[in-house]
């Protein structure tokens, strides 16, 4: 494999890692928002829950920003085609997501119950909706999306908003929400005590159960679903547009890669193993272990979707030959190389200072301190 093709695969893998980090870290914070009103029955309990992620949500959110930036830089055609095609859904995602920073920062500024209740609902919506959209996006990738290109790469999306909310996409959307809520509840267990801890423990068990069921049903569904198969084109490492390849749809084609490389079955196994492990760990009150197993579960789920799709990134249901693949949607060799250099330096640095930030702020959040009016708390 030449340098360009190698870089294309590296960036596809890196994008997968970024999506995993996004799902784990942003999903956790969104999960806390989504379960806030259930696990926290009093204002003080809710504030404890918010303060557990308070020092971290801002940094975590950058995984989302970085995910967007990396898609733009490494796979610009995917960035352009997917985000414009999913327009209304993207607006739903963005409009609910931009409410979240305000929910965190503004909620505790004023003591009136109506003010705080409103922001609690805002945090619920801004946690639940983006995670459903995130999961549903993967569902739609597996189903294919109706779009095509003109000669100059102007893209046209010919589906409707409701077409993106099909049953399979909703299933993957709820799967993502369950995993996010599970991770949020595990994080609450890490930092809370008493009733809050107990309710979060219950949430982990329910959401892990739902996630296991949905991941299994989704897997069976994909067996029967038409998948996409690349049967000809310029191939890896050749500068090209999506107008030069041939693609056909074949039932069960999403399992082709698993057949060719049986080692890939590890991905769904890790997914199931992580979910079951998180469930057991929560039962045993070992929430820190559970959190890491939950992160493993997310990674397994995303790796499963990626392994099924490869080399496809955005299949076109109306004109399969115009599907976006790793080979035709990527940036040029120079850009991928420069970006790989930056990622090699800065991703380890980010992991290092993020771990340090979590380590410094480790331990239980004290309800008494918040009740006393600790100046810096949410």
């Amino acid at each position: 494999m030449g340098l360009y093709a190698t870089l294309q695969v590296i960036w596809w893998l890196l994008l997968g890692v970024l999506l995993m980090a996004l799902a784990v870290m942003v999903g956790m914070d969104m999960g806390v928002g989504a379960i806030l009103r259930y696990v926290g029955r009093t204002d003080l309990e809710r504030r404890v829950a918010l303060n557990i992620i308070g020092p971290h949500w801002d940094g975590n959110q950058v995984w989302f920003v970085l995910g967007g930036g990396a898609i733009f830089a490494a796979f610009p055609l995917l960035y352009a085609t997917a985000f414009s095609g999913f327009y209304v859904v993207m607006l739903l995602l963005l409009w609910t997501m931009i409410l979240r920073p305000l929910g965190f920062e503004y909620r505790s500024q004023i003591e009136r119950p109506a003010w705080r209740n409103t922001w609690d609902w805002v945090l619920f919506v801004s946690g639940a909706v983006p995670m459903i959209v995130f999961g549903a996006a993967f569902g739609n990738l597996l189903r294919g999306v109706p779009f095509h290109f003109e000669w100059d790469m102007t893209s046209f999306y010919t589906g409707s908003f409701l077409g993106l909310l099909n049953p399979f996409a909703l299933l993957t959307g709820v799967l993502a929400l369950s995993l996010a809520a599970m991770m949020g509840a595990l994080m609450v267990m890490n930092g809370a005590e008493g009733a809050l801890f107990q309710r979060a423990r219950g949430v982990v068990q329910v959401t892990a159960g739902v996630a296991i069921a949905l991941f299994a049903v989704g897997g069976l569904w994909v067996h029967a679903m038409p998948g996409y198969r690349l049967i000809g084109g310029p191939g890896p490492g050749v500068p090209q547009t999506p107008l030069q390849q041939s693609v056909v749809t074949v039932p069960g084609a999403w399992l082709t890669n698993f057949g060719a490389y049986p080692l890939l079955w590890l991905a769904p196994l890790v997914g199931f193993g992580g979910m079951i492990g998180a469930w057991l760990a929560a039962r045993a009150d070992r929430s820190h272990l559970g959190w890491w197993l939950g992160a493993l579960a997310w990674s397994g789920v995303i790796a499963t979707a990626g392994a099924a799709l490869f080399p496809f990134m955005l299949p076109s249901s109306t004109d399969p030959s115009m599907s976006l693949t790793v080979w035709n949607a990527s940036s040029s060799k120079d850009t991928l190389l420069w970006m790989a250099g930056f990622a090699a330096v800065f991703v380890p640095l980010i992991l290092w200072y993020t771990s340090w930030a979590f380590w410094v702020m480790r331990g239980k959040v004290s309800a008494e301190k918040i009740a006393r009016g600790d100046e810096h708390a949410y």
Partner: protein, 526 residues
């Protein structure tokens, strides 16, 4: 073919969301450095009042920061959602600085902002100070990479169009980041942020001095801000001048619009202090001129000139004619990438490809293009003169006003008489909106002046937008306007409220959140 209404609505949406985002960003850029400076004084001198200052201004910083972050999220995705052709056309270059911004800057800023707010008791003094400085460096590095991306739109160096992938591709990363436009614009814009923060801190401090509340804190804050403001304002004006000098070379149409220069003038050229430009008649009414000044400003000499609109349109017509074969050859290559004749024809005319695109708006079939259509496309190369001309003058006028303001503020503060100059304190409070207005005008000069291109000389705006329906665009525009209007009301309410509550007085119960008994009797939230 893209619907013109959709393009216009996409532009309105982008401008509205970018201008809105740009209300919050400059304050973050500057205030983060002021916070770091205050905390540094606290750590080196050990005087608790500087800690109180860092915490109080830090609280206002966070209210502003939240909305800056929130509205930044939509900006990052708007290129994809609403400018998909633009994104695939230049994503190979434009995407990289955005991704690096996340990797290098925004991650650092956001991670340490959490520690800055929540870490006062968990971190040592030195560690906390480091966190605050990293927030300041992070936000300013962020601005650098965003402006590298923007610089490419203004002066697309380090890239070339590749007919086999149908897009611009990176040829030199170094050229991209060291482009002269990027260098001057980064410094100009980030220092404009320092000016914004300096006016904000001066104004709020003046409010306390007028009310005789928190006087020691207000006097110290005002002095730091005023000195910072004098230096920063001088910096903004110097770099603004450098930017004008760059524009004269790389964006002559923007410069002609900024100066209302319809026809070439003999050197030394006079400066239009006041004028009312008419785009259709290509002339100015009600002109008030300063002799010789324009040559001095934009060429830094008395014997050189710059081109007027008439000469620039003639140049554009020639380039449009050269662009026709480029587009025609490209269409052949799209069907048949191996066609050597088409490739040779394309290579010979590639530098005028963008001008060929410009003509396609009027002549979808370029082989049938008429001279009238070429003239219409050439007319399009001139940005909206009156809007650019006046945005520029308002920006510069406000900049000079702020310079005078800071000189006075610094003098009065150093003489320790500022608390007695009630007229000046009142002016200072009223100055708070001024830098925000100047910043918005600066954005308008830069981005309206770039029209009709999204990437100057390369990609016309009319081609760049996503192929949405008008209904979708109306829906999203209403959604953005509605949400953003609610946000600004909440933010202003919380900011004003936090300012009225004031900083925590040492020893007060529930430090930081105590309401003076007079305010509304009782303790605010904890």
């Amino acid at each position: 073919m893209i619907n013109g209404t959709v393009v216009d609505l996409s532009r309105v949406q982008f401008a509205a969301t970018a201008l809105y985002h740009f209300l919050f960003v400059p304050l973050t850029l500057g205030l983060s450095f002021l916070l770091a400076a205050m905390e540094t004084v606290y750590v080196t001198t050990g005087k608790p009042i500087y800690k109180q200052m860092a915490q109080f201004w830090g609280k206002l910083f966070m209210i502003n920061f939240a909305l800056g972050v929130a509205t930044g999220l939509t900006m990052e995705f708007q290129f994809g959602t609403n400018w998909s052709f633009y994104s695939s056309f230049v994503g190979d270059i434009f995407g990289a600085p955005l991704a690096i911004e996340g990797l290098m800057a925004f991650f650092m800023e956001s991670t340490f902002v959490g520690l800055m707010v929540f870490g006062w008791e968990r971190l040592s003094k030195g560690q906390h100070l480091a966190a605050t400085w990293l927030v300041a460096f992070g936000s300013n590095l962020s601005a650098l990479w965003i402006l590298v991306a923007n610089g490419f739109m203004q002066d697309p160096v380090g890239a070339t169009f590749d007919p086999f992938t149908m897009r611009m591709q990176l040829t030199s990363f170094q050229k991209l980041i060291f482009s002269p436009d990027v260098q001057s614009k980064f410094v100009h814009t980030s220092i404009a942020g320092y000016v914004t923060a300096a006016v904000f801190v001066t104004g709020v401090s003046a409010f306390y001095l007028l009310r005789k509340r928190h006087v020691p804190l207000a006097k110290r804050s005002l002095r730091m801000a005023a000195l910072f403001g004098v230096l920063a304002t001088i910096g903004v004006i110097t770099l603004g001048d450098a930017l004008g000098f760059v524009a004269a070379r790389v964006q002559p149409t923007k410069l002609a619009a900024m100066e209302g220069l319809w026809k070439a003038q003999a050197a030394p050229m006079p400066f239009n202090l006041i004028a009312f430009p008419s785009q259709t008649e290509q002339k100015n009414d009600g002109v008030v001129q300063v002799p010789d000044l324009l040559s001095l400003l934009v060429t830094h000499s008395l014997d050189r000139t710059v081109l007027g609109v008439d000469a620039l349109e003639r140049q554009a017509r020639r380039r449009i004619e050269q662009g026709i074969p480029a587009v025609q050859a490209l269409r052949v290559l799209a069907r048949d990438p191996t066609n050597a004749a088409a490739l040779a024809k394309f290579t010979a005319h590639r530098r005028d490809l963008g001008y060929g695109f410009l003509l396609q708006r009027y002549a979808p079939d370029l082989s049938q293009a008429t001279p009238a259509q070429v003239r219409a496309a050439a007319r399009d190369t001139i940005p909206p003169v009156a809007a650019v001309f006046w945005s520029f003058r308002v920006m510069v006028g406000l900049g000079l006003l702020m310079l005078a303001f800071f000189v006075l503020a610094a003098l009065y503060s150093l003489h320790n008489t500022v608390q007695n100059k009630r007229w000046f304190l009142k002016v200072a409070v009223w100055m708070i909106p001024v830098p925000f207005l100047a910043n918005e005008c600066g954005w308008l000069v830069a981005e309206l002046g770039r029209q009709p291109w999204t990437v100057f000389d390369v990609l016309p705006t009319w081609m760049s937008a996503s192929t949405h329906s008008v209904a979708y665009m109306v829906f999203s525009l209403i959604g953005f306007l509605g949400l953003y209007s609610i946000f600004i009301v909440i933010e202003l309410y919380l900011l004003v409220r936090a300012i009225r509550l004031g900083p925590a007085e040492p020893g007060g119960a529930g430090e930081g959140r105590t309401v003076p008994a007079a305010a509304h009797g009782g303790k605010a939230e904890g």
